[in-house]
Amino acid sequence: MKILVCISHVPDTTSKINFTNNNTEFDSNGITFVINPYDEFGLTRAMQIKEATGATVTVINVGSASTEPTLRKALAIGADDAVRINAEPTDAAFVARLLADYAEEQNFDLIITGRESIDYNGGAVPGMLATYLDIPFVNACIGLELKGTKSTVIREIDGGKETLEGNLPMLLAGQKGLVEEKDLRIPAMRGIMMARKKPLIVIEAGEAVKQTSVLGFELPEAKAACTMIDADNVEQLVELLHSEAKVI
């Protein structure tokens, strides 16, 4: 079985977000980049399947050379090989098309992505990629069990969950639940050493159309000072929520 795990290279969750070039570009100065947290759940689940079935796991991303340490980290966690498509990932349809061009030739049985990246949060690439490849798409996936080519998956729905069944190939956009937080794999020394020798191939981007562009970014307005209320006077809070905030 061949598994493809798509990896986004994103700012660490503790990052303070700032913009540069007249608020048209993300300011990556001083930012630590990591594997997108949603992708980590899928990568770990892929490792578990690899160990149970002998599947091979390829990781891929669309990005510049600066994203390679993130791919190396995925290799250190246990992926067999890595692919980088050399392009700036600025539009979902563009990224999905480039990934589809690669995946189409490789016949993966299972493709796992995160449900969204924590930078642009479009949540668009997984469903577009599945559609370009004409395979089923499960969003917000929180459970996966495989029996041969038969797959049982659980997806989060608004206020609950749904269990689905189908045959591979399929694409799952995962999140926490696919594996638990405590089971997430982190690179061990041996893995880091081995990752240096694993293949990381670079493919030049083919033709793909961009549908959207970002005109500019803005940060939320700073909050006015917090109104402090004495712990012995919670009635004042109720009164303010009623008369000032008008929420009760």
Partner: protein
Amino acid sequence: MAVLVYAESWSGSFKKATFEAVSYAAQLADKIGTEVIALTIANNNNSTQLGKYGVSKVFTIANDSLTTFNNQAYANAIIAAAESTGADTIVISNTNNGKAVAPIIAAKRGAALITNVLDLPSSLSPFTVKRKTFSSKAFAQYSTEATQKVISITPNAIGAIETNKSAATESFDYTATESDNRLSSVSVDKAKGKITLTEAEIVVSGGRGLKGAENWNMIEELAELLGAATACSKPVADIGWRPHGEHVGQTGIAINPELYIAIGISGAIQHLAGVNASKNIVVINTDAEAPFFKAADYGIIGDAFEVVPKLIEALKTYKINN
């Protein structure tokens, strides 16, 4: 050039997010100078309700093959309705189901997809709209030159505006194909009577400061009194005091209710990212230095185990008097 809005149903009925999407679509159509058509699938005959939010025509699909949500089939049904009405802009609510159909529709139609949209477009040519990005730590103005568009609206971001219009319904048909049914639903497990987090007007949330799962009774009591949904911070979900579905924050659910009450949550940047779009934030924390107070509108420095019971009493008194 019409606007088509997918009016999502949950167990046959509409929720607030549906009315918001319909209202958005009606205002957008007005701005463009075109008509708006709503599409409902497996709705229990309350489609005419949508008229109140500005649509004049509602297509209803009541096909046995579409009784249960199926993202491939629903996406294809929405595409078929768009084709039959000549709609080039499709509006969808950014719910879990909405997120499961929107990219399929966009990919099949070669349409531009803009998700997490917060407002009506500031310009129609090129189409430019504000959306959430960087996990709610920032906003971005996205633009597209594409004629075909799929716009997915953040629940709770824009109000549903009532009009005095009324809608006529027309039946529309789509039958799921073999390809649509490559995945089949085995079971749906819905938390009963719970208010959906992303739609809730008020959210009461607890953090590690509550010390244990057994102390959530007062959170639930406070939530019930306010008609609120309950939520929690990431560590609380990771320890297992509360289910993952309640985790709000950067890697959990992003919310933007009218009122967010954070109890025993310090306000790490990852938590703030998911909740700072809330219109009003109340923070109750023992630590006066908790970073959350900087992001709050109202703050109480105090022990949750003393403050929350008092707040419950004060709200009960308020309810009796109002």
